[in-house]
């Protein structure tokens, strides 16, 4: 999966993955959250909520 941005929104993360905007829960069993964690491990940062 190609994560291009991520920002906290309440309990979830608003992320653009493979060109689609998703609300992603912080659940380790969610495949999109796993992709975001890999993206963060690669040196990227989840933006704070507005």
């Amino acid at each position: 999966m190609n994560v291009t941005s991520a920002q906290y929104q309440g309990e979830v993360i608003l992320a653009v993955i493979d060109g689609e905007t998703l609300s992603v829960p912080q659940d380790p069993n969610n495949r999109h959250y796993a992709a975001i964690l890999e993206w963060v491990a690669d040196g990227n940062t989840i933006e704070e909520a507005d």
């Binding site: 309440g10 689609e20 998703l22 829960p25 969610n30």
Partner: protein, 355 residues
Amino acid sequence: MSKARELAELGAVYDSGALSNRNLVINGAMQISQRTTSDSSISDNEFVCDRFSLRTSNAGWYGAEQSTDAPTGFSHSIKFESTGANSPAAGAYIFFTQKIEGFNSAHLEFGTSNAKTITISFHIKSSLTGTFGGSVRNSAQNRSYPFSFTISSANTWEYKTVTIAGDTTGTWIGSTNGIGLDVIFNLGSGTNNQGTAGAWAAAGYLKPTGAVNLVETSGATLFFTGLQLELGTEATPFEHRSFADELQRCKRYYQRIGDPSNTQRVSDTFGWTTAIILPAFLWPVEMRATPSFSPSDGTGGRIEGNVAANSTSISSNVLSKQGGTLVVNTSGLTEDNPYMFSMAATYYLQLDAEL
């Protein structure tokens, strides 16, 4: 097949403890396609028929569609078609797979001395002939069993079975909502991802050595349906479940809320601010894990009360396996005033908890 033979096979199935709910595969008859029924250029991790993940390191090398070309006893199949004559690199991965949830495969007891034998059966038709294959793999992708089968006649439906002695070593997820096992069919993976057929290996192989790669022949086709994975040494007739039952099972992993034909009034709520309502939902089916949420677009939502307005964007700020709260943005609302949230026909909300 003789009656005596049929009774002997039934006895073997009974001994395995699987006279009902035998098939661990969901949507094996390819009847359910909630997302789309066709995509001529597949990217990695797409779905056409529910629960079958289409994987590719090379986007656009094949297309897929839900087809009504099916063998006797089936109404649908999934069709793959190669878009060119491509040579996969050694590390390429090109395959389709169903990941079976640990809760549904724990009784196979893989990774223990009690590991059970499983049998995989399916119907397949291809414009190519030769030795094709796939594999069974664990979640850590460090145990796999490449298997092969032969397609003898081009463009002819054939029935195949593969029996695999369970893996007594390695780490296999037990009774959890993670990946219990991965059933893989090759479409064009590279040589780094191949291993000896008919043996367990300490690697995450995707195919047996020398298997035919569909993507290497322009316009080559492959149809596939009736996938069954069951406990025991015998391939029993495909377990046809009702459409409703199969759809409910699929919705544990992915579901859409919305009616393609009618406007739906889906939730009563109130103006959180002058620009936001927060309609709450209970999902029709509890999901495997907390799902990701996305709307088909941001502007198909409708807010009705002392004003009527379309949404400008929709997201979620609270999600769980059973429900969630949407953040619907618009303008011109009155704080604390009651509003109804509705969705235009063709508009939908999608929830994804796939493995």
